[in-house]
C-alpha cells in the first residue's frame, strides 16, 4: 500500500464520524454527507499519490466533500488551482480552530426516539464509525439489501422529518442519553452473542461498540453512565475467550477459568467504574458493571461475594424491573444458596414474555435441581434447550441433560 493510500485509510478510520457529523450538522442529510465523503476519499486516493499527502488530510477531505455537497464539483474543477489552494488553507485553519466535534450530535440523532430502536445501533455504527452496510448486516444476521434499506429509510426520516442535530435539553437529557448508551450496548450485544460462533467479522463488532463507548466517555466527561457502560463492555470483553473451553464448548461464568480473563481490560474497567462512582449518581450501566466487578474478584478473593451480588441485583431491579434483571436476580439468589426464594422470585415474574425467555428456563432448571425436584427440573431444561439460539449454549445444555439422564 502506498503512503497516500495509507494516509487516506488512516483518515477514513479515525475521522469518518467527525467528518460526516460536520458535513451533516448543517444539512441534516446524512446520506448526502456520506456520498460526498466517499467521493472525496476516492479523489484523495487518485490525487494524493501524485500531489503528495496534504498536511491536514481532514481539511482536504472536508473541502472536497463540501464542494461536492454544494454541487460545485464541476465548477470547482474549472477554477484555477490557486483559488482552490487558498480555500483549502482557510478550511484547514477553520477545521483546526473552529469546528467543534459534532459527533455527539450525530450520536443523539442516530438514537433519536423518532428512529426505530432496532435500527439505532446499526445507524450509529455506519454514520459514526463508517462501517459498511454489508458488514453490519452480517453482524445483525439480516440480508445486506434489507439492512441497507433500513439505514436508507432512517436517514431519509432524519432529513425529511427534520430531526435536529442538537444535543438534547435538560428535561430530555437522561432519557436521550440512555437511548444513546442502549444503542451502543445493543451493538456490543450483537458482537457478544456472535462470539459463540466463529465469525471473525462479528467479533470485530464488539470492538467497534467499545470504540463508540470510548467516544462517548471522551465527549461527556461529566457523565458517569458512559463510564459505567464502557466498564461493563470491557469486563465482558475481558472474559470473552474464557466463555469457551479448548473444545469450543460453552463455559458459564461461575465455572470459567479465571486465568484466561484479560487482566489489562479488567484493570481499565475497574478504574472507569471507580471514576464513575465518584460522580455519586447511580445508573443502570454502573450497576451492571459493578455486578461484573464482583464476579471478576473471584480469583483474587477465592469466593464470589453473593451478598454484594444480591444487593446489586436488588438495586438493578428497583431501578428498572426488566425481565432480564428479574431472572438474573433470581439467579443471584440461587447461587447464594437460596433456591427456595429464587424459585419464588421466578414464579412471581408476571411478564408475558417470561415463558419464551431462555434464561428464565435455565434458571428455573437450576433452582428445581438444587431443590431435588428432578422431574420438573428435567422438563424445564428441555424447554431451555428448545429456546436456545446459540449452538454452543445448546450443546452445553444438551450435555447437562445427558449427564442427568
Amino acid at each position: 500500500m502506498t503512503a497516500a493510500a495509507r494516509a487516506a485509510e488512516q483518515a477514513a478510520r479515525t475521522s469518518y464520524g467527525r467528518l460526516v457529523s460536520i458535513l451533516a450538522a448543517r444539512t441534516r442529510d446524512i446520506a448526502a454527507a456520506e456520498d460526498a465523503l466517499a467521493e472525496a476519499f476516492a479523489n484523495a486516493l487518485a490525487s494524493w499519490p501524485v500531489s503528495g499527502v496534504p498536511r491536514n488530510p481532514e481539511a482536504w477531505l472536508i473541502t472536497a466533500a463540501r464542494h461536492r455537497l454544494l454541487n460545485e464539483w464541476r465548477a470547482g474543477a474549472l477554477r484555477d488551482r490557486a483559488t482552490d489552494e487558498v480555500e483549502r488553507r482557510q478550511e484547514e485553519r477553520r477545521i483546526v480552530e473552529e469546528f467543534p466535534d459534532e459527533r455527539l450530535k450525530l450520536l443523539f440523532v442516530c438514537a433519536h426516539p423518532a428512529i426505530e430502536a432496532s435500527v439505532r445501533p446499526a445507524l450509529m455504527l455506519q454514520t459514526v464509525l463508517g462501517l459498511d452496510a454489508a458488514r453490519i448486516a452480517s453482524a445483525f444476521a439480516v440480508r445486506p439489501s434489507a439492512m441497507s434499506q433500513r439505514l436508507v429509510r432512517a436517514k431519509a426520516k432524519i432529513r425529511d422529518a427534520r430531526i435536529p442535530f442538537a444535543v438534547p435539553g435538560d428535561e430530555d437529557w437522561p432519557d436521550r442519553l440512555q437511548d444513546v448508551l442502549d444503542a451502543i450496548y445493543a451493538a456490543y450485544g450483537v458482537g457478544w452473542d456472535a462470539l459463540a460462533g466463529t465469525d471473525a467479522d462479528l467479533q470485530g463488532l464488539a470492538e467497534e461498540a467499545i470504540d463508540l463507548g470510548r467516544l462517548v466517555v471522551g465527549l461527556l466527561p461529566a457523565e458517569p453512565e458512559p463510564k459505567g457502560l464502557l466498564a461493563l463492555m470491557l469486563f465482558c470483553e475481558a472474559r470473552r475467550t474464557a466463555r469457551f473451553d479448548d473444545g469450543g464448548f460453552f463455559v458459564p461464568l461461575h465455572e470459567q477459568d479465571a486465568s484466561r480473563w484479560n487482566r489489562i481490560l479488567i484493570i481499565e474497567a475497574e478504574s472507569l467504574l471507580e471514576e464513575a462512582s465518584r460522580h455519586r449518581r447511580f445508573g443502570l450501566y454502573q450497576c451492571e458493571a459493578a455486578i461484573q466487578s464482583v464476579h471478576v474478584q473471584r480469583p483474587i478473593t477465592g469466593t464470589v461475594n453473593h451478598e454484594a451480588l444480591e444487593l446489586l441485583y436488588r438495586l438493578r431491579v428497583a431501578a428498572s424491573p426488566s425481565l432480564g434483571a428479574l431472572v438474573a436476580q433470581a439467579g443471584a439468589r440461587l447461587h447464594a444458596g437460596k433456591a427456595v426464594e429464587a424459585l419464588a422470585d421466578l414464579d412471581a415474574i408476571a411478564s408475558p414474555e417470561r415463558d419464551r425467555y431462555q434464561p428464565y428456563w435455565v434458571t428455573r432448571w437450576a433452582c428445581l435441581k438444587a431443590l431435588g425436584r428432578l422431574p420438573e427440573a428435567e422438563a424445564a431444561l428441555s424447554v431451555a434447550i428448545g429456546l436456545s439460539e446459540q449452538p454452543a449454549v445448546r450443546a452445553y445444555l444438551l450435555r447437562a441433560q445427558a449427564g442427568e439422564a
Binding site: A114, A161, I163, P164
Partner: protein, 122 residues
C-alpha cells in the same frame, strides 16, 4: 418547517364534549393548549372535527360508487382534529404534540407537511 399534529381521541374523549359534567374541563384543556400555541405564534391553521359518528367514507370500486356510514377503520382512536404548526424541527413539534390534551388519553401523530417543488418552467 410545517408539521401536522394529528390529534386522535377515544370514544370517551368525544363523549366528554357534550357531557355537562365534563365538557368544561374538556374544552378548557383544549382552549389552553390552543392559546399556548397561539401565544407562541406557531399555528398555521387547525380545526377540531365532529365525532366519528358523523363520518361518511366513500370509495370507487370497479367503477361503482360506494358510500358508507362511519370512518374508514373502526379503531379505538379516531381523528378528532388537527393543527398545522410552523416550528424549526421535529423536536419542537414533538414538544407541542406532547402538550395536546389528547396525548394524555389517546395519541398525537406528528407528520411533516409535504412541500411541493415548484413546477419546472421548462
Amino acid at each position: 418547517m410545517q408539521y401536522m399534529l394529528i390529534l386522535n381521541e377515544t370514544a370517551d374523549d368525544f363523549a366528554k364534549r357534550n357531557d355537562p359534567q365534563q365538557a368544561g374541563a374538556y374544552w378548557g384543556g383544549w382552549n389552553a393548549f390552543i392559546s399556548a400555541m397561539g401565544a407562541a405564534g406557531v399555528i398555521v391553521k387547525g380545526d377540531g372535527l365532529l365525532g366519528p359518528e358523523t363520518a361518511t367514507t366513500v370509495r370507487i370500486k370497479d367503477g361503482k360508487r360506494h358510500i358508507q356510514d362511519g370512518p374508514f377503520a373502526d379503531t379505538k382512536e379516531q381523528l378528532g382534529g388537527y393543527f398545522i404548526i410552523e416550528v424549526p424541527d421535529l423536536d419542537a413539534a414533538i414538544e407541542w404534540a406532547l402538550k395536546a390534551p389528547s396525548a394524555a388519553c389517546a395519541s398525537v401523530e406528528v407528520r411533516p407537511v409535504l412541500v411541493m417543488a415548484p413546477a419546472s418552467a421548462a
